[in-house]
Structure formats: C-alpha cells, structure tokens
C-alpha cells in the first residue's frame, strides 16, 4: 500500500528538523509577543488595569492585543521563513539527490516534508496560545486590578481565532514551500513577504476589490473580522492555493532534473 510510506516520511522529517534554526524560530517566535505583552503590562501597569463592567473582558483585550501584534509584526514573515528554512536544509546539505534515491516514492518525500513544515507552524500556534493564557494567568496573580480574575477566558473564541489565522497562512505556505524547493536563496522570500505585507496594508486601506486573492493579506483579513464564519471566503481561497500549488509543486519537483 503506497500510503503506508507517509507516516515514516513524516517521522524522518521530524528527525531532520531537530536542532534546526526553523525549530528554534518556532519556539522563539511563539514566545516573543506573549513575553512582550507581559513586560508591557508589568511596566505600564496602571494603564492596563481593566475596570469591571466593560463589554470586553481583560482576557479579550489581552488576547486581542497580543494577536494583533503577532499578526502584523511577525506571522507572515515567520510562515515564509519556516517554509524556506525547512526546505533549504536539503539544498544546504546536498541531500535532494540523497532523498530521491531512497526507496520511498517521491510524493511521499514531498508530502512528508510538507507535513513537517505544517507541524512546526501548528506547534508555534499552540505554543503561542498556551503562552498567552499562561501570561494572563501570571498577571492575575500579580495584581487583581488587571481584571483577569473576574472572568474566565473565552477559550472557544481564542482557539477559533488561532484556527482562522492558521488557515489564512496556508496560501503563503503554498507559494513559499514550492518556491523554496526551487530556490537556495532565503533573502528573496523574505523580501517578498515584506513587499507583500506593505501592499496588503495599502490594499486594505484602499478597499481593493480583489484583496481576497492576494495571499499576503490573509492573516490581516482574518484578524480584521473575528466574527466572520470559519472558514471565511479568503480562508477558503487560502486552502485552495495550498492544495493547487502543492500538487503543482510536486509535479514540478518529480520531473525536475536534480543537479
């Protein structure tokens, strides 16, 4: 059975991702914004005391801020970089010729690597979520005036937002996973992410009609309208990009001359 190759392929990719910059970037990236928020709350404490009776709870506000900073500052770069770094391991190690002369079908090598990348991204999201909750809880112990103790966090909304944002990143993964399989260079993808983010900001302000088709804007779109259904229209398109580009990427690499 051909499908039986896949679990082993994924395990192999996990082994390769050990001790890599990609792994540590996922950890550090997940910790960065929650830590920043914790420090900001402790530093400027009086400004962050949430009085009772507001429509939004302390948790909503804390999470919303963390989430906004994460998405605007960090997330698209992270997704682009993680795709590039993980795939780049094979370029740097001269191992394309190795993996494609192993008794594994090429599709299984490709899919295993794809799942390896997505697992890192999901791990990053999970760690981010846990750290935001942990830091809110720490603040509730430090001073009750922060208001974290008055309500419990809306975990459903919390993980729903994380899920939406993850779906929104799939378009970027589709583009950059394929691109990284063709390109040794890491600077260019980062440049693309930077330009893409700036254009997204402009397009969003200008209410550009076709913004739903521009993958670099998807995380911004997801955070902009938290009440939208899951998946929202652009998130469906992100899934579409992901599937189409990965299938095309596979056919590209399986026919390509290596070296």
């Amino acid at each position: 059975m051909q499908l039986a190759y896949l679990p082993q392929s994924v395990r192999i990719e996990f082994l390769k991702n050990r001790k890599t910059a990609a792994f540590w970037l996922s950890v550090a990236g997940a910790a960065f914004v929650p830590t920043l928020m914790l420090i900001a709350y402790l530093w400027k404490n009086t400004q962050n005391f949430i009085p009772p009776g507001l429509k939004n709870t302390a948790w909503d506000i804390f999470f919303g801020r963390a989430w906004g900073i994460e998405i605007v500052l960090f997330l698209p770069f992270y997704v682009v970089l993680i795709n590039s770094l993980v795939v780049n391991t094979e370029h740097r190690s001269n191992t394309w010729k190795y993996v494609f002369t192993q008794p594994f079908p090429k599709w299984s090598v490709w899919t295993g690597k794809l799942i390896g990348v997505q697992a890192l991204i999901l791990f990053h999201f999970a760690l981010f979520g846990v750290l935001v909750l942990t830091n809110g809880w720490i603040l509730s112990l430090v001073d009750e005036r922060y208001g974290f103790g008055r309500t419990t966090p809306d975990l459903l909304l919390f993980w729903k937002m994380i899920g939406k944002t993850y779906l929104a990143t799939l378009g970027l993964s589709g583009i950059h996973f394929w691109l990284a399989s063709r390109l040794r260079n890491i600077i260019l993808p980062i440049g693309m992410a930077l330009v893409g983010m700036v254009l997204s900001g402009l397009a969003l302000q200008a209410n550009w009609a076709y913004i739903d088709w521009f993958p670099y804007s998807y995380t911004l779109l997801s955070v902009k309208d938290a009440k939208a259904p899951i998946p929202a229209r652009h998130e469906w398109i992100a899934i579409g990009y992901f599937i189409v580009l990965n299938v095309a990427g596979y056919f590209d690499i399986s026919r390509r001359n290596m070296g």
Partner: protein, 300 residues
C-alpha cells in the same frame, strides 16, 4: 543477466549538445566495475541518469532487470549510492544521519554500530557532521550508502579529497565488500591507476561516449601490441642495421632506438642479436606507459 544495464542512454542539457551519447553500459553481478574517464567526460551525468536524478533525453536504464522509470522503490531498496560531495545533514550527528538512512531503508538499528565500525567513525558518531573533516564526511556518506547492505553500490569518485591513507582504506573497503558480501560495485574515477588497483572490469568514457568496456585483462590484452623496447648500444647505427630486416628499424641521428615487442622472450632475442653482432648494449628498457598511454590515446 547484468545487474546494471543502460541502452543507448543519451542526455543533453541543451539541445544538440549531448553530454552522454548512446551509452551502453553492462555491469555483471559480483564485479567491481571502474567507470573511467577524464574530468568532464560525463561520468557524474551518467551516474545521475542511472539513479534517475536526471531524465534521459533518450534510452533507458535497467537495474536488477527492472526498468528504473517504473520500479524506483524496489530498485533503491537494493542499491546504495554516494554521488559527488556527500549528502549529509550537517546540523545532525553522524549517528542521527544514519538514523535517517535507517528509516528510509527500513534497516534494523543494530546495523548502525556495524557500519560506524566499518568506516571507522565509531569515536565520532556523536559529533555533528559539520565538524567532520572532508574524509570523515565521505566515510559517513559511504556508511549511509552501505547501511542496508545493498547488492549494488554506486560510488562517484569516492577517493576525491581523501588523503593517501583514506584512499587506501577506501580501496580496501571496496574490495572487502566485494569479497565478503559479493556486492557489485560501480565506481567512477578519473585515475587509471586507481581503477587498475581496485577493479575487475572497466568502462572508459570520453566526451560522453563509451570507448572501451570489458575486463581488466581484456584491456591489458588490447594494449599488448603497443609495448615498446628502448635501447642504447655502442653503435646505434649498426644496431639499427642488425634489426632492420625484422623490425624495419631505421636509424635517426641522436635518437634512441625503439622497437615494438610482444613478450619478454622477444626482448631476450633482440638483446642476443645485438650481442652476437659484436655490439655493447648499454641500456635495454621496456617502456611501461601501458594503460596510461592507451587511456590518453583513447581520450585524446
């Protein structure tokens, strides 16, 4: 049945500039096949074609009697390869690299210490591959290729970058694999001396075409007629006259005399004729350029 066979294998990166031209390699099981040619002759390209890393412009590759384009996984389960610079995950240790190879080939974990021992890396197994010397990297690459006890091992210039001790060890390892496990080895090299010392069979490639293919003995036979005897006597002009009738030898002023010969009895007979003609023989030298010269001749 050959374990490795190519039929009219042809490849060009650009149109009308074939790098490999109608290559018909045939490697029998149990042999050590030296794939010999100067740098740029198309050796690495041929090996990449054999391993399916390049798509042939024309022709086909068969390994173990199966077509490569339809039986990749079963073929690679029985094949190990080391191509150009070793493929290693530099951020991982030697042992972790072997762990990856082990999972790709479904080999029992007990095999890892065995191959580490075999290539002499047991002491460095915990170190990251990026801290390895070139020779150690090459040996780890070899250990990964040999882990699953392949029936066919394909090595592309395995001694490149190795020091003299490393070269001898590599040669010994190849012979040992052949002797103890009956492994068929296909090894490319640009050094004739290396192929002569290590291989039982040889294929010579130049400008993408196969110029010779056969056993080492056949190669030596093919060059038998090209051996020459150089000599100096007290009177070279007279000596040329003595040998003129048999060898059509002509004397040219200032040049040493040279005649072709077949075997050592003939060398003795030439000497006897000269002595019997009253000449003092100062020097009698068999010209030993043999294969090297033939190789150069073929690839000129």
């Amino acid at each position: 049945m050959p374990i490795l066979q190519t039929r009219d294998l042809t490849f060009s990166f650009r149109k009308d500039q074939p790098v490999v031209r109608q290559l018909n390699l045939s490697v029998e099981p149990g042999t050590i096949y030296g794939f010999l040619g100067p740098n740029g002759a198309g050796k690495t390209t041929s090996i990449r074609l054999i391993l399916g890393l390049l798509q042939p412009t024309d022709g086909s590759v068969e390994l173990f009697g199966e077509d490569l384009s339809t039986n990749r996984t079963s073929i690679f389960q029985r094949t190990g390869a080391l191509i150009e610079q070793p493929s290693l995950y530099l951020h991982l240790s030697g042992r972790q690299n072997l762990e990856i190879a082990r999972r790709y080939t479904r080999t029992p974990a007990s095999r890892i210490p065995e191959v580490l021992e075999m290539v002499g890396l047991t002491h460095a197994a915990g170190k990251n591959a990026k801290e390895y010397s070139l020779g150690m990297k090459q040996r780890l690459g070899l250990a990964m290729a040999l882990l699953h006890r392949p029936e066919l091992v394909i090595l592309d210039e395995p001694t490149n970058g190795l020091d003299p001790t490393g070269i001898i060890e590599m040669r010994e390892l190849v012979r040992q694999l052949s002797r103890e496990w009956g492994t068929t080895i296909f090894v490319s090299s640009h050094l004739l001396s290396e192929v002569e010392r290590m291989c039982t069979h040889v294929g010579i490639i130049h400008l993408g075409s196969l110029r010779f293919q056969g056993s080492l003995a056949e190669l030596q036979e093919a060059q038998a007629g090209t051996r020459h005897l150089h000599f100096q006597t007290s009177d070279n002009q007279a000596a040329a006259g003595v040998l003129h009738a048999i060898y059509g030898l002509k004397y040219r002023d200032g040049e040493a005399l040279t005649v072709p010969f077949q075997n050592r009895e003939e060398v003795a007979s030439i000497n006897r004729r000269l002595v019997e003609a009253g000449l003092d023989v100062y020097e009698l030298r068999v010209h030993h350029s043999d294969l090297e010269e033939m190789f150069l001749e073929m690839t000129r």
